[in-house]
Amino acid sequence: MNRTIIININSIVFHIEEDAYDTLRSYMIDIKKHFGNTAESKEILEDIENRIAEMFNERIQTGRKEVINLEDVQRVITQMGQVSDFEESEGTAVNEDFRHEQRTGQAPHVEYVGKKLMRDPDDKMLGGVCSGLARYFGIEPIWIRILLVLFFLLGGSGVLAYIILWIVMPIAETRADKMAMRGEEPNLQNFKKSFDEEAKNLSETFSDTGERHDRGSRTAGNLLSGCLGLIGKMIAWIMLIFAGLNLLGLFIFYVFNMMNFFGLENPMFFPPLKGLATNDGIIALTFGFLAIAIPFFALFFWLTRILFKTDKLNSYLSLTMFAAWIVSIVGIIYYCIATAQDFREKSTINVQKNIQRQEVYYFDEKDIRVLDASEQDSLQSKFNIQLDGQDLRNYLHSDINIYFESIDSLSQPYIQYSYSAKGKTYQLASERAHNIAYEAIQEGSTFLFPSHFLLMKNTLDRDQQVRVTVYLPKGARVVLQRSIEPKIRDISYWECLNNYPEAAQQKYTDWTMSGAGLVCVQKPQPVPEEEEEEEEAVKSKMKALLEEIKDKKDSIIRIDGSDVTIEVKDNSVRINTKKQEEN
């Protein structure tokens, strides 16, 4: 007794035995595989099916034999020919190798050029990026993974690359995707093959259910991965919050810095931006923002995708972001180099200003940040005109050095100002040096040096310096106010100041111009305090000695370095000094 199956070939119904059906089915699958890649395959298959139906029909004798058995099927196959027979007669030079491979089954994947870079969901550790890359380059995924770990160890760049690739690379979800990823032509035959392989894998997975050991280890694996999943989730949450806060912070930083450029002054100003012109600054700031924010955004988005299983970013958008990131990095490098280049040449402009001869020259500092109402007409208005009413704060520079030099006692005293600045070219540097506004102001016999100099016409900050040299005739008396001290070079102001009895309260120092420069007028004060200290030291020493000899009898102690001896005799102490002995 045999079970029969009812089949339908070209709308003719046949009863066929089970084993015969299996054979027929696998034969038809073979044939379909064989013809699968030609355009006319459908027609050929139809012809063959038709012919098989006809042959079956011939073998059926109503009443005596109504079921197709294995023998019939084998006969039909012999007559129709095996797939290998077809190949022999059809084989052409072009596809010979292909057929050969197929027959031996050694190279099951037919490679063709149009591979697609996609993530492989069937062979993944995290996102299938490595296996996808490996597929693309036709190597084992393990090498890509090792490479990635190496990159991770070398500064962590691997993580960023991985995340970006994860976002950029689409996942190979459908069978067609997977075949495109493997570089197979998406034809019927390959489809069938892919499907069969999958089915085979599946059946293999199911077939070993009998092995308890294997099962047990799998559950343990599940448990482990569950635990890891929980920890991973927590880490992901922490990272998500971290990335989110960073993004927020960056955004605030960006907005406030931008406001500075557009005239809304606020204290949040990134110092390096000072070195750039407004237009460049805006671009550089945007580049900087993107360069840092995009990776954080990618991390943020990636984490939300993991945690909330949201859709992945549109690949055009992610590619655009990636491109923007690269551009930003390049832009930042450009600005760094360009700005550094702008410090290459140095230019100095010297200006001499004669000053009146006078007996005593007073020098003081004028803190231009402090403005008196009474000075509105002079100082403040001057700066206001030069700065077009803009806030002084960002235009003030204090790199000012003052030197004093002697000239012949009969010569005309003068002040020399050296304005220097840096630039990409000498021309640019000298232009910038020219835009430094700094000059002493004379009020009676006092010369007031402003505390800061100004850069006019929105000149960029390029290491501008002002060196002031005051040439005074020998013998001239000079009074230096204490406030000017930080700007004075070459002479020791504090040493001179300490010569005064009340140094802390002393507001000025007196100097005379000698051939070798300024000399402090005030002579050092006698120092009585030092002797007092010495006496104190001797006293304490004696005390210690007495303590030492308290319990001793009949001994003489010489104190080192002095001519004092201490004699202890019969409960009495005698202290002798040489003087006394001499006396």
Binding site: D47, T78, G81, E96
Partner: protein, 111 residues
């Protein structure tokens, strides 16, 4: 490998020529073509024939008509087209040339 390839190529060319000339004799059913080819020891299995017929048909050398069969499904009967006839006559010439060429080159070897 090369020998095999050459044989296949030679046989393939001849096969199409033979099929065309068999069909040129009149309307014929695929399994009858096979019978003829088997007799000529050119083709052993039927399966091989169908792709060839389909290709020749798609190139416009053959056409077919469906005919009711006493047993089983309707059958495809093939006939040659006028284009097929021109190709066949050209192949006839080529074949004669080939026979001449091969015989000429074989002559020296026969002794």
């Amino acid at each position: 490998m090369i020998a095999e390839n050459t044989q296949t190529q030679m046989r393939k060319g001849i096969l199409e020529y033979c099929i065309l000339s068999i069909i040129s004799r009149g309307e014929i059913y695929a399994s009858d073509i096979i019978a003829e080819l088997k007799k000529a020891q050119l083709l052993v299995v039927e399966g091989t024939l169908y792709p060839l017929l389909t290709r020749l048909k798609n190139n416009g050398l053959l056409s077919y008509t469906w005919k009711e069969s006493s047993s089983g499904p309707p059958r495809k009967y093939y006939q040659i087209t006028t284009e097929g006839r021109t190709v066949l006559s050209r192949l006839d010439v080529t074949w004669k040339e080939l026979v001449f060429a091969v015989e000429t080159s074989l002559q020296g070897r026969n002794d």
